[in-house]
Symmetry: C2
Subunit: 99 residues, 2 copies
């Protein structure tokens, strides 16, 4: 059995767009919706779907507020999200190490 | 823009089961169907779908033969597959390096 085990890959994180979101939030303390949308080159609808999925499992928190009467959506990784992402990196690092 | 770029992740390889197939074939010269099915803990139908997808893009070759009148399906990574997998590992390594 190769050291790399797909069973250890968290499907919620492994999805390409969600992986991009988590990787960005791992570095940046927080990010806003438009920033993520531009960075990941995804549509508004697509990004919302993936953010909701990450929020549902508690990996991110989404804060909606108004700045100069304009809506602002800020996204942050939760402690549970950081823990899950660290475990994901460990599982995927086995693949890179094997490569 | 974080060094990690989801645009560089080859979707054909990034799918969890296909990633498991490619990671295993990167180490093992070849693998047979039942070996992969047991290792990846997937159904016959599911494995067939993913093998066909990798074959369609030319990343693997599938050789069907009979041994003692029993069908044997052998799977091998092609040179194109090895090249694509190396590029995939490079893209994902940026994530692990970033983490």
């Amino acid at each position: 059995m190769a050291a790399f085990d797909i069973g250890k890959l968290d499907d919620v994180i492994h999805g390409r767009v969600r992986l991009g979101i988590m990787a960005y939030l791992a570095d940046a303390e927080a990010a806003d919706f438009t920033e993520l949308k531009a960075l990941l080159e995804v549509t508004q609808g697509n990004l919302s779907v993936h953010l909701r999925k990450l929020e549902e499992v508690g990996y991110i928190s989404i804060d909606k507020s108004f700045v100069d009467r304009k809506p602002l959506t800020r996204v942050r990784m939760t402690p549970a999200g950081r823990k899950a992402f660290a475990a994901y990196l460990e599982a995927i690092a086995k693949l890179v190490g094997d490569g």
